[in-house]
């Protein structure tokens, strides 16, 4: 008797679950759920944001659902969506939102934006707005916009009498600088490639850069090539063109020919951010996120410079946005919070963490972001880069493409795989992923 009762209970539960998942109109009771991820200090900023909102709108309630990193957020979001109880809002990078947009999980915001008297799309950087358009419709609203920059250790540059990187510097300038900054324990310039043998090992490396497609892309673009065959509906990577191949070769050569970047063992032992913070990496190619880590540095002065140029200045877009789920039960309330969060007031609160560049043009130009009290002095580098940044493809399988290409590029840089094999592997292994992907 009892097993039957239990089975009946389970069945009812499943039916209820699937039944409730199908659309709803009007707002349900309870707080708006906002799913975000981030380090503790970022999460604290989101808590400040929700509290400020609740204060500004008495009666409104927002529940912050915290995840620690992107993987956790995706696990939470995917289970909740499949289980029929998605959070009302979630924060997502444009490189990762395609999979949800393709499954029709994200609500289009066009009508709400048009009807809103609080949000004017012209207040936001267009490149970030465009990255979240799927099939011509605005799905999410960007909270930040950032690009790659080169962090450098000013004190170390002064010590060795090497000229600091400056706007408009070329790739060759950067390689030359990195070579001049790769030093042994006596401060003498050494060639890092010899470190594999018994020769002197560098104590300071010239440059840190991750061998990933998102780091490679702006270099390829700058050299006048493309990374995919069709910007809207990509079907394959096009790193086999001479200009793209050139950029890839130059990236790999940083380790293989010049030895200015640490070996993979060295990166395993100490990641580039820690190495930079320890004063043993002269330059680091990274996004705005590294800024908060480096603000704890007291032993030396550091600053940021723009990416080096091949033919023209191009950057790569990093941007996260608030997305509203279609299955959410409190869309109106969620929208009111979203309006607040990306408004000037909301963006000021998040800008205070220093981790992101505000997507609101006014806030990004204000002291909230450019304030001189905290390094980097040249924070404007991040803003100057925005007109030149380009977005990566938002095909729904892009996260998988990033994973697959990382392994191949890592072997190219650190193991010295043949460039032709690398380019062929990249193409062969990503083609099925592009074929499976859906486009906005």
């Amino acid at each position: 008797m009892r097993p039957k009762a239990l089975f009946a209970l389970l069945l009812t539960a499943v039916l209820l679950a699937t039944g409730c998942g199908a659309g709803s109109s009007g707002d349900a009771k309870g707080p708006v759920q906002l799913l975000v991820f981030g380090a503790p200090e970022e999460l604290a900023a989101y808590r400040t944001l929700t509290e400020a909102y609740e204060k500004a709108r008495p009666g409104a309630e927002v529940q912050l659902v915290e995840a620690s990193d992107r993987k956790d957020l995706l696990a939470r979001l995917a289970t909740a969506v499949a289980g029929g109880a998605p959070p009302d809002l979630f924060l997502m990078n444009y490189r990762f939102y395609g999979q949800f947009a393709a499954k029709n999980v994200v609500e289009s915001l066009d009508e709400r934006i048009a009807a809103s008297d609080r949000i004017d799309p012209a207040d936001y950087y267009p490149v970030a707005m465009d990255a979240f358009k799927w099939g011509g419709r605005q799905l999410c609203l960007p909270q930040n916009v950032s690009s790659l920059a080169v962090y450098y250790n000013r004190t170390l540059f002064a010590k060795y009498g090497v000229a600091e990187p400056k706007t408009g510097w070329t790739w060759n300038d950067m390689v030359g600088t990195a070579i001049a900054m790769t030093r042994d324990s006596r401060g003498v310039v050494v060639k890092g490639t010899e470190s594999e043998g018994a020769a002197v090992r560098p104590v300071v490396h010239g440059l840190g850069v991750e061998p990933s497609i998102i780091r490679l892309a702006p270099l390829v673009w700058s050299n006048g090539a493309e990374i995919v065959d069709d910007l809207d509906k990509p079907t394959r990577l096009t790193l086999d063109t001479p200009a793209a191949r050139d950029a890839l070769k130059n990236l790999v050569d940083l380790r293989q020919a010049y030895g200015v970047v640490p070996t993979d063992e060295e990166v395993e032992a100490e990641d580039d951010e820690s190495r930079f913070a320890n004063g043993r990496l002269a330059m680091l190619m990274s996004s705005r996120r590294s800024t908060t880590t480096f603000r704890s540095i007291i032993d030396f002065e550091w600053d940021v410079a723009p990416l080096p140029v091949y033919q023209k200045q191009v950057g790569v877009l990093h941007s996260d946005a608030y997305c509203m789920t279609r299955g959410g039960k409190r869309k109106d309330a969620a929208w009111r919070f979203l309006e607040f969060a990306i408004s000037e007031e909301g963006q000021r609160i998040i800008a205070a963490t220093g981790r992101t560049v505000p997507s609101h043009i006014g806030v990004s130009e204000s002291a909230a972001f450019l304030g001189p009290s905290q390094p980097p002095r040249s924070a404007r580098v991040f803003l100057d880069a925005i007109p030149t940044v380009r977005a990566l493809p938002t095909v729904s399988t892009w996260p998988e493409i990033e994973d697959v290409t990382y392994g191949i590029l890592e072997n190219a840089m650190h193991r010295g795989d043949r460039l032709d094999d690398v380019i062929r592997d990249l193409d062969q292994q990503t083609r099925p992923l592009f074929a499976r992907g859906e486009h906005g």
Partner: protein, 286 residues
């Protein structure tokens, strides 16, 4: 049980002891250094650039990591939730598993075979395949964002494996014993509680420790079911510390020490109370 009084000859026993000691030393060699580094790392001052080589004795020694771990990780609240879940789930799970195992050992062989086969099948299903259906069930019951989904698996003995282990343990007891209980007119429940369970104490100890560790370190379930920060358990809180900047690794390590300590304590207690149960008699023998 007293029939083994003759014992093995002394020389092999001494040799056995040496091997025993060597084995223990090897295990210690493998497992203790990471724990030592964990503790020394947690006592390093946070906010400084991470040292490229691990230091056994940090300079300066600082307990700041612990303070900040408790503060930013919300570790106190999380520990409380973890303890609450463990205190309810572990005894419940062990009781259920032992009852189910006992029943399996006592019912008709055919039923046993069916249940064992079903358990094996259940063991083979990957946990992630059941995530969404389980989420849907708990949601429909209105139990998401509570600690109930974290405790609920205890009602099934946490894992089919534990039921099977108990089944094997109870089956290994001599049939005469069960027959004697029948003659004494003991009910099955009394036979289980008064006779069978005390005889498999080492199994109970091992499974209690295992269930505790599994419950204590459960990360996926709270990640999926718990939204409210005040309901976070230790693994979730620890996870949030793991994404701190590299300069703050002592804070994360301090959190890890705090989360590991109870598990170590449970193992020590389980070892003392149960596993060495008949050791004193063995040692006291001249």
């Amino acid at each position: 049980m007293g029939g083994r009084a003759s014992g093995p000859p002394p020389l092999p026993e001494a040799a056995g002891r040496i091997w025993h000691t060597l084995g223990a030393a090897f295990v210690i060699l493998v497992f203790v250094p990471p724990l030592l580094l964990l503790v020394s790392g947690s006592l390093t001052e946070p906010g400084l650039p991470p040292s490229p080589t691990p230091q056994l004795v940090p300079d300066p020694v600082s307990t700041d990591g612990y303070r900040r771990a408790v503060e930013i990780g919300g570790l106190l609240r999380a520990s409380l939730n973890s303890v609450l879940v463990a205190v309810v789930a572990v005894p419940l799970s062990v009781l259920v598993a032992s009852l189910a195992g006992f029943a399996l050992a006592r019912v008709a062989p055919r039923t046993t075979a069916t249940v064992v086969a079903a358990s094996l099948v259940a063991l083979m299903v990957p946990a992630t395949a059941l995530l969404v259906p389980r989420f849907a069930i708990f949601r429909a019951l209105g139990l998401t964002d509570t600690l109930v989904p974290l405790i609920a698996p205890a009602l099934l003995g946490t894992s089919p494996l534990y039921v099977l282990v108990y089944y094997l343990a109870f089956r290994a007891l001599p049939r005469d014993l069960y027959d004697a209980c029948l003659v004494e007119d003991l009910s099955p429940m009394r036979t289980w509680w008064r006779v069978a369970l005390p005889l498999v104490r080492p199994v109970t100890a091992a499974l209690t420790a295992l269930t505790f560790v599994l419950t204590w370190s459960n990360f996926l379930d709270p990640l999926i079911y718990v939204y409210d920060r005040d309901l976070f358990t230790l693994p979730l809180a620890l996870r949030s510390l793991s994404v701190l900047d590299p300069t703050n690794f002592p804070v994360f390590l301090a959190g890890a020490v705090l989360a590991t300590a109870p598990a170590l304590l449970v193992f020590v207690l389980a070892q003392r109370r149960f596993l060495h149960h008949d050791d004193p008699t063995g040692r006291d023998r001249p």
